[in-house]
């Protein structure tokens, strides 16, 4: 059960790049597939090309920037309550 050796797959920059490349390829495939499938969205905008991809991307970017602002407001030293 326990591995005798460490896994070091992600240590090499080449492998990390390879993983990222497969990830980007899968994104392209998702965008291409979007053109061919039948759409039955409940709201009209759901049927716009790649609505979900655009929404997901924008949501996550705005999430991070809002979180950064939130951190400015609520961050305190670790011993704040002590």
């Amino acid at each position: 059960m326990l591995p005798k050796k460490e896994l070091t797959f992600l240590d090499s920059a080449k492998n990390r790049l390879r993983v990222r490349r497969y990830f980007y390829i899968s994104l392209v495939i998702l965008l291409v597939l979007d053109l061919f499938i039948p759409k039955h969205g409940h709201f009209a905008w759901e049927n716009a090309p790649s609505f979900y991809a655009v929404y997901g991307f924008i949501a996550c970017v705005s999430l991070i920037f809002v979180a950064k602002i939130l951190r400015l407001l609520v961050k305190r030293k670790e011993d704040y309550y002590d």
Binding site: L2, K39, F43, R71
Partner: protein
């Protein structure tokens, strides 16, 4: 069998035997109890049974219908998995607390009247406090105290509401209540506190990261989800819940992004997931209620899986902060894999359990034409993938190499994680058994090409955003810090309130003592009299006057923590609450 045996009793009575058993026998016993309770639930007759008269009220311990059964199944299932996960522990206190906690949750689930509900509600609160205390650190003890205060407040609201409700409506039925008068409002507040509705949520991210490794698994499963069950029964179709739920899906993800403690990230994402369920309750249609139950079922399993895998890391390395961890996949690949399965499930990746359950709720929201709520849920779906789906596995198991080379956790932990991971994948691929136990017939198929592709696009492009932000250095760095939440409003003014109470009392005491000293000096000329007077004064001030507070103190002394004021603050908080109860009782009828 006409009268079913309430499954809660199996756990509560079974708890007593735990300290008498040792070693393998105890392990076997701990695993047998959930199995017996599970069989008992399968045998329970439909309808209300196991009723007892108490004073003028009927207490119903077994109200069995499809809604309570579904929650009963999953509570027993997670108790079994949690017990497997906790088997290595040599801590009877934790085992007993976990069993009574599960008993409380099942009692709430199968309760048929409000008094039975209240009783088991408080059993849950007490048992879960022990699971925080059992961490046995200074930090955990203080957190347990705060947790207890929150739930004490919720419990008092609930009890006051139930009493008022019983008087005005003349019924103790635990059924649709509907928000209409002060009584139902108090009940609503009590339930909402346990469901971690904003702004009553702060106890959750405060206490869960400080609970024991195994305790957090039970806590993540039982308290909030039993509140979801109760709200689904008592306040379906409530607009406040719809909007509160939608807000709850969104605001915690911002906190989760900047939280450093991994179990705190999970605690915030737990609030986010409960938000989805409350939205479903707010809609209240059969499809939505199905979504709530399905989501609660899947959520309990994958959230426990996430708490188990991060707990395994904490157990093995003693560290849980993102700033201390990273690169653990090298020596803990199995734990990493389980964590990824949990992360994929909570993110609702197709072929994982979250996908088949969250879709129901989201579809119900769309069907009700709640456009804004729908957009918020979609935002939250992308957001939950961002923090629970990517951040947790990435910063713990990948990311920068922390240099920690830890072994995999003990066998029982690995088995428990494996079971939960299996259920996540099984239900994701084959949701039919889950759909079969939902309260209403299901005509829904999550796997349409459009739906699968839409979800994949949403998630993968969210992941793209994460990748780009991390690579470009815009991602907020992990920092050791405290992030303020709504509990600030209680913690600092609360402290001020206690010292405010202390100061005048101290001043009064020292001035009285000063006067006493003056009088005694006067008496010095008559030694015999002065001795008598001094003794009686001493008795008056130090025995008679402090008899009541002293008596209360003696009772609550066992709660003693490292902070001496604890006993005092418990008393200060208890007295107004007791006064409140009496005020309600006297003014209301």
């Amino acid at each position: 069998m006409i009268n079913g045996l309430p499954p809660a009793f199996i756990f509560l009575a079974g708890t007593v035997l735990v300290p008498l058993l040792k070693g393998r026998l105890q392990s076997a016993y701990l695993l047998t109890l959930p199995v017996v309770a599970g069989l008992d639930i399968l045998l329970l007759p439909e309808g209300s049974s196991s009723a007892t008269m108490f004073l003028d009220y009927t207490l119903i311990f077994c109200r069995v219908d499809r809604l309570s059964l579904a929650f009963g199944y999953v509570f027993v299932l997670i108790t079994f998995i949690g017990m497997v996960y906790a088997l290595h522990l040599k801590d009877n206190l934790q085992h007993m607390a976990a069993l009574s906690y599960a008993g409380g949750a099942l009692g709430v689930t199968f309760a048929g009247d409000l008094f039975t509900l209240y009783f088991f509600w408080e059993v849950m609160a007490l048992a879960s406090v022990v699971l925080i205390l059992a961490r046995r650190t200074h930090d955990a003890r203080l957190a347990a105290y705060r947790y207890f205060m929150w739930h004490f407040f919720g419990g008092i609201c609930l009890l006051a509401g139930i009493i008022m409700y019983t008087i005005t409506r003349g019924t103790t039925a635990f059924d649709v209540i509907g928000l209409s008068d002060p009584a139902s409002a108090l009940i609503f507040i009590g339930f909402c506190l346990n469901a971690a509705v904003f702004p009553l949520h702060a106890w959750l991210p405060d206490a869960y990261p400080r609970a024991t490794v195994t305790g957090a698994v039970f806590m993540s499963a039982l308290t909030t989800k039993s509140a979801v069950y109760i709200l689904a029964r008592t306040f379906p179709g409530n607009d406040i819940l719809l909007w509160a739920g939608a807000f709850m899906t969104c605001f915690p993800i911002f906190y989760a992004v900047i939280a450093n403690d991994m179990r705190r990230v999970l605690a915030y994402s737990l609030i986010n997931q409960v938000g989805f369920m409350l939205c479903g309750i707010g809609i209240g249609s059969p499809l939505a209620i199905n979504g709530v139950v399905a989501h609660a079922f899947c959520h309990i399993i994958y959230k426990a899986l996430l708490f188990m895998s991060t707990g395994a890391v904490l157990h093995m390395t003693g560290k849980i902060r993102a700033t201390d961890l990273g690169g653990l996949y090298k020596t803990m690949p199995y734990t990493a894999l389980c964590c990824i399965v949990g992360a994929a499930s909570i993110s609702a990746f197709p072929l994982f359990s979250g996908f088949v359950s969250k879709s129901l709720t989201v579809a119900a929201v769309a069907e009700a034409h709640q456009v804004v709520v729908w957009l918020m849920l979609l935002f939250a779906s992308a957001g939950v993938f961002h923090h629970a789906g990517i951040k947790v596995p990435f910063f713990v198991f990948f990311g920068h190499d922390s240099g920690i080379r830890s072994k995999e956790p003990p066998l029982n932990m690995r088995i428990a994680m494996g079971m939960a991971a299996f259920i996540c994948i099984f239900l994701g691929i084959y949701p039919a058994p889950l759909y079969a136990i939902l309260p209403f017939p299901v005509q829904f198929s999550p796997y349409t090409p459009f739906h699968v592709l839409g979800m994949l696009q949403l998630l993968m492009f969210g992941a793209l955003a994460f990748t780009m932000l991390v690579l470009s250095g815009y991602y907020p760095p992990e920092l050791r810090a405290v992030n303020l939440d709504t509990d600030w409003f209680l913690r600092l003014p609360g402290r001020a309130f206690i010292s405010f109470c202390h100061r005048p009392l101290q001043a009064a005491r020292s001035s009285i003592e000063g006067w006493v000293r003056v009088i005694i000096t006067g008496f010095k000329k008559l030694p015999a009299l002065s001795v008598t007077v001094e003794k009686s004064l001493d008795w008056f001030f130090h025995t008679l006057l402090v008899a009541l507070p002293d008596g209360i103190l003696r009772v609550i002394r066992p709660l003693k923590t490292e902070r001496d004021e604890l006993a005092w603050s418990v008393m200060y908080i208890l007295l107004p609450f007791i006064a409140l109860i009496f005020a309600i009782l006297f003014t209301f009828p």
